[in-house]
């Protein structure tokens, strides 16, 4: 679609640059990729939503075990169906971009891992997280005992105030000392 570039007005482009960690090229690329996902008649409208299932067809997200959570976290949809507008999509890319700060990355990571959206990572969240990380197949799954041990260990380490859950500040404390997090918490188009 030849008009993609002109669809993003100069003003909003510079505003997006101001508000995200993305460069101009990245924003334009994101816009192009995003409009490709939209129906033809919706492309004119900046506010049209792309359903989560279609977002998941992006190769960058396809094999990510957290793709559902990512969409839900970044979605501003009122029905909580994980559908994304272009701005949500930019938010996503910004948080996952190269230059985003550790703070914002860890904030979103926490929300992604917080499966029930209750503001803390409790045992159920951690269990789901482990299951996401070990994949769907039976042979890679951990058995119950291992799972329990693992979760206990994690809570031992991270749960500083010992309330049985990991909250955001504890999470950020742990994450901020990890050497790999910033380099691996990245999605690029």
């Amino acid at each position: 679609m030849g008009t993609t570039a002109s669809q993003l007005a100069k003003d909003s482009l510079s505003e997006y640059q101001e508000l995200t960690f993305l460069t101009k090229q990245e924003i334009l690329l994101a816009h192009r990729r995003f409009t490709e996902l939209l129906e033809r008649d919706e492309r004119k409208n900046l506010n049209s939503r792309v359903p989560m299932e279609i977002i998941h067809t992006l190769p960058e997200l396809k094999s990510n075990p957290f793709k559902t959570r990512i969409c839900q976290v970044f979605s501003t949809s009122e029905d909580r169906d994980g559908s994304l507008t272009f701005e949500d999509f930019l938010d996503l890319l910004s948080a996952f971009s190269d230059s985003a700060t550790l703070e914002i990355k860890s904030h979103y990571a926490f929300r992604i891992f917080d499966f029930d959206d209750d503001g803390t990572l409790d045992e159920r969240d951690l269990e789901k997280l482990v299951n996401c990380l070990t994949g769907e197949t039976e042979d890679t799954r951990l058995n119950d005992e291992e799972m329990k041990q693992l979760i206990n260990n994690i809570l031992d380490e991270s749960d500083i105030d010992k309330d049985g859950t990991v909250n955001l500040s504890e999470f950020q404390h742990v994450i901020s000392r990890s050497p790999d997090f910033v380099s691996s918490f990245k999605i690029v188009l």
Partner: protein, 967 residues
């Protein structure tokens, strides 16, 4: 109940609300609720306040404000809506849609503000009396602001940042100093109405100062906006409003002349910002191969990509080295030096002339290639060349030194940066959590890689659990030990064997060289390089096989493997250098003979001609016929160039055969083979990150070593890296499969850098040794005729600088000065080291302190949590009772109650969250609904347990505060 506690609790509520909501208009329903409650509370509070301070006009004022705002609300909302539409239609067509909701937000905001003002005033009675008058209100507000700043700073700041305060009562707005200090932009119609009053003439210097501060704060907000975890829409709104605010008030700053200047300055900063952003964009657009690397990154994860990033980094360094040698050595000599054929060192000797243009000779960098700017020998020792007296020998020497110095600088700087990034991550206290929270590589976009990653994460979990349980049984420790010793023995044998082989081959090749290379086959001529390349290719495979004996953990095994390959390469390189040293000594002996012969030859020449003419006219002998020395420097350069070429060739050929051909065979023979080739034995190859990085590092080491004697080396390397980039990118994408064991990239980054540093040191060592100890050849190169190469510095100092300079230099290089200086440096190093040690100790102490604190907190927390739980239960009970009353009238009441419960929890954590049930269905009910349940709350529980929901959270908040501050 004392009013103050009530007020504080109310205060907290407000702040929390704003804080959590952060102006997210999708949460309007929440706010509406609170507003309802608040209004309700307002009424009560007002009454109470009245009772408490009967003559306080403040509460009257408050009520007036309240009523005023109530009456005006509808109308204002409408006006505002219109205005919003007017304002934003330029930006975005759809904005109008959310204006109604926004207007509501505004209303609630105003409410909050009113109340806050009142509340604060309530705290200071003395200010209350002068409320009515505008001028004084200004003061009040200013003071209030200070109070806010001092009292509740952090939260308040947060709030001020997050809040998009559109409206306060007109009086407050008119004071114009108030909104700025709080950093809340009143940028809507009030501003327009009262625009006249924001004139700089009317403002006192302090107010101006405050205004300035506010503007600065806004600017800061704009800059920090991208780091906030808010939805885009909210950020957009904040941005626009802050920008409007800044634009509005920036003009008001400064008076008369100063004003113009200020405006100019502001304009320039704006332009500068824009320029910076464009430049940033330009810079990222200039980074080569970004897309290629990202593509690989998304297929193979970050570790494979890290190799290519390393390659690109190497390319950058070589680019600079190439620029140095090319711009300061090769080009000047080629353009301004004497042309080819003018003097013997620049001419192909007669004996070689016949085959000088043959491809085989050129491929070996003999013939015309040898007698060109590519090699040391071609350069003339003329002190200054060209019309602007370019000091060629000096430049040559300084470029050689500069190359090494620059490389050191870059490598060390990168290492320091890497250490900064990963230095904190060396403690093992979060082993499991890191595995859990950071082990997924979000870049992985290839299902196969993802599967491998799943498997590797699972194994790492299992291994970690096993280690933790310490139930690992070493079934036969003696056997493993024996096998490990055996493996190391075998590896040592391999290393020694390869070293001897290289030494042997180099010595043999010298014999061949003495015989004359033409008499030997291609293999005999290229034996050294081929043997070195083949060793480099096959020994790692051998090591790999041997390492299976050892039964190490894969990570440890990888390190061993890397160490062995490193030792192999290093050994090979150093054997090569030692052999080369032998060759140099041979050449120098030869040189002596030649030198003697030449004097004889010259003498005979002069004698022959001298008999005819005593004035000795210049005898015209073609430079090709002049006998000349062997020029060991060019020989060294040639050796290195050949080494690089053959190394490159082997790499490419291995790539083509080992990867591409294998992939093709596996793919196409799979149909007609007796076993499954893809899954079975040959399968596809993996990309060997560590091996490739090591290859790159050693290649670079050879460049550093040889660059002094062959200025063309950086150029060649640049070419090689360029081709590698494309070739390897292509090979990875088309014929490699993702690694089975996916290692993290970042952990090994500095490991590679350290290796690079070691190699750099080891490769500059022989180069410096030769430069310092061996006298240069007498008839070739820029330093011919000098005793040592570095004499060129001395020469320059003596002839090009004033006398005092060389005097100063000689004083400075006096041992009496140099030794104290070195001593000083040693002392400084010692001092820094000891301070870093003490810092480390302090760190450990702090960690201990933190741990004990945590223990204490844990106890406290448990108590608090228990208490909170009981409170919560009571609250729930009463709430459900209250809700039962209401249920028959409206079913949604209960829902909202629950929502709020969740919301209250959530707001501790997520400041930008939006648990967003639809707004639309709530709003029509609001006037009826809002106050209803709240009344019950108050009625049922009385003052002591006012809003238990908030009480419940007030205690845990003691510990939550740090998390709030972070944002």
């Amino acid at each position: 109940m004392p009013g103050d506690t009530l007020i504080t609790s109310e205060n907290d509520t407000d702040i929390d609300l704003d804080f959590a909501g952060d102006g997210d208009f999708q949460e309007n329903h929440e706010r509406e609720k609170h507003k309802g409650k608040r209004r309700n509370g307002d009424g009560q509070k007002n009454k109470r306040e009245n009772q408490r301070r009967k003559r306080s006009s403040k509460s009257v004022q408050g009520i007036r404000e309240e009523s005023q705002s109530k009456t005006e609300r509808g109308e204002r909302g409408r006006r505002r809506r219109g205005k919003d539409e007017h304002e934003t239609s330029g930006h975005e067509g759809n904005e109008g849609k959310r204006d109604p909701t926004r207007a509501k937000t505004t209303k609630s905001k105003k409410n909050i503000k009113n109340e806050k003002t009142r509340k604060l005033e309530g705290k200071e009675d003395r200010e209350g009396q002068e409320k009515g008058e505008k001028g004084k209100l200004k003061l009040v507000c200013a003071k209030n602001e200070e109070k806010i700043e001092s009292g509740d700073q952090l939260k308040e700041k947060e709030k001020a940042l997050g809040m998009k305060k559109k409206k306060k009562s007109k009086k407050v707005v008119e004071t114009s100093s108030e909104p700025e200090t709080s950093g809340e932009g009143d940028d809507e119609e009030e501003e327009v109405n009262n625009d006249g009053e924001v004139r700089p003439e009317l403002l006192s210097p302090e107010e101006l100062e405050k205004l300035k501060e506010a503007v600065e704060e806004k600017k800061k907000l704009i800059q920090s906006l991208r780091g906030k975890p808010w939805p885009m829409r909210q950020k957009l709104v904040t941005l626009r409003e802050s920008q409007l605010f800044v634009e509005k008030y920036e003009g008001a700053l400064g008076k008369g002349k100063g004003r113009k200047l200020y405006a100019y300055k502001v304009m320039m900063t704006k332009k500068w910002m824009k320029f910076q952003r464009d430049f940033e964009n330009f810079k990222t657009a200039c980074i080569p191969w970004e897309m290629k690397i990202k593509e690989i990154e998304s297929h193979f994860g970050s570790s494979v990509a890290s190799y290519f990033i390393f390659l690109r980094w190497m390319y950058g360094i070589n680019m600079i080295l190439f620029g140095l040698t090319f711009g300061l050595v090769m080009v000047p000599e080629a353009l301004m030096g004497r042309p080819y054929g003018s003097i013997p060192r620049k001419t192909v000797p007669r004996a070689e002339e016949a085959g000088a243009m043959d491809f085989a000779v050129l491929w070996d960098f003999g013939g015309y290639a040898q007698y060109s700017v590519l090699f040391y020998g071609y350069y003339n020792n003329q002190r200054a060349i060209g019309w602007f007296k370019f000091r060629m020998p000096l430049s040559y020497f300084l470029v050689g030194v500069g190359t090494v110095a620059y490389s050191y600088m870059v490598v060390i700087r990168t290492m320091a940066r890497n250490a900064n990034e990963s230095g904190i991550g060396d403690d093992n206290s979060f082993n499991f959590s890191w595995k859990m929270f950071t082990s997924w590589d979000y870049l992985i976009g290839n299902p196969e890689t993802a599967d491998n990653k799943f498997a590797s994460i699972t194994t790492s979990f299992k291994e970690a659990i096993l280690e933790e349980q310490e139930s690992r049984k070493d079934d036969n420790i003696h056997l493993t030990r024996f096998l490990r010793v055996l493996a190391n023995f075998l590896v040592l044998c391999c290393l020694a064997g390869s070293g001897y082989l290289i030494y042997f081959v180099v010595r043999r090749s010298q014999k061949f060289a003495l015989d004359g290379l033409e008499n030997h086959t291609w293999w005999e001529r290229n034996e050294v390089n081929m043997v070195m390349s083949l060793l480099g290719m096959f020994c790692p495979m051998l090591f790999d096989v041997i390492s299976t004996l050892e039964n190490y953990h894969p990570r440890v095994a990888l390190q061993w493997q890397l160490g062995r390959i490193f030792a192999l390469f290093l050994g090979n390189l150093y054997t090569f250098i030692i052999a080369l040293m032998d060759a140099i000594n041979l050449k120098r002996k030869e040189e002596k003979v030649v030198k003697f012969n030449i004097t004889m030859w010259e003498a005979s020449l002069y004698n022959g001609t001298g008999s005819e003419n005593s004035t000795a006219p210049p005898i015209t002998i073609h430079p090709a016929d002049v006998p000349r020395g062997p020029c060991w420097e060019t020989m060294v350069g040639q050796e290195f160039v050949r080494l690089i070429i053959s190394d490159t060739m082997t790499t490419y050929i291995t790539l083509l055969i080992g990867d591409f051909l294998r992939a093709v065979l596996v793919r196409f023979l799979n149909h007609c083979w007796c076993w499954d080739l893809e899954a079975g034995f040959p399968s596809y190859s993996e990309f060997d990150v560590s091996g490739n990085v090591l290859g790159l590092i050693f290649n670079q080491g050879m460049i550093w070593m040889g660059a002094f004697y062959a200025p063309c080396l950086p150029a060649l390397n640049l070419l090689r890296l360029h081709v590698s980039m494309y070739l390897q990118c292509w090979a990875v994408m088309c014929c490699n499969v993702p690694q089975e064991r996916v290692f993290k990239a970042s952990g090994s980054n500095n490991f590679y850098m350290a290796m690079l540093l070691v190699i750099l040191f080891l490769s500059t060592l022989p180069a410096i040794y030769t430069i310092v100890t061996i006298p240069p050849s007498f008839d070739c190169g820029p330093f011919s005729g000098k005793n040592r190469m570095f004499d060129v510095i001395q020469e320059t100092l003596e002839s090009d600088f004033p006398a005092w300079f060389s005097k100063v230099f000689s004083y400075a290089s006096n041992p009496g000065l140099v030794l104290p200086f070195i001593l000083l440096m040693v002392l400084a190093i010692y001092y820094l080291q000891s301070t870093s040690k003490s810092y480390k100790e302090a760190n450990v102490e702090l960690k201990k302190k933190l741990q004990t604190q945590n223990e204490e907190n844990k106890k406290k927390n448990k108590q608090a949590a228990l208490k909170a739980q009981t409170d919560l239960e009571e609250a729930r009970k009463s709430a459900s009772q209250a809700a039962e009353h209401q249920r028959d009238t409206d079913a949604s009441g209960q829902r909202r109650e629950d929502d709020e419960e969740i919301y209250n929890k959530n707001q501790r954590m997520y400041h930008g969250r939006n648990p967003s049930p639809s707004v639309g269905d709530r709003e029509p009910h609001f006037p009826v609904r809002g106050p209803g349940p709240r009344n019950c709350h108050n009625g049922n529980q009385g003052n002591s347990r006012y809003l238990p929901g908030f009480h419940q959270q007030s205690e845990p908040r003691v510990y939550r505060v740090p998390s709030l501050e972070r944002h």
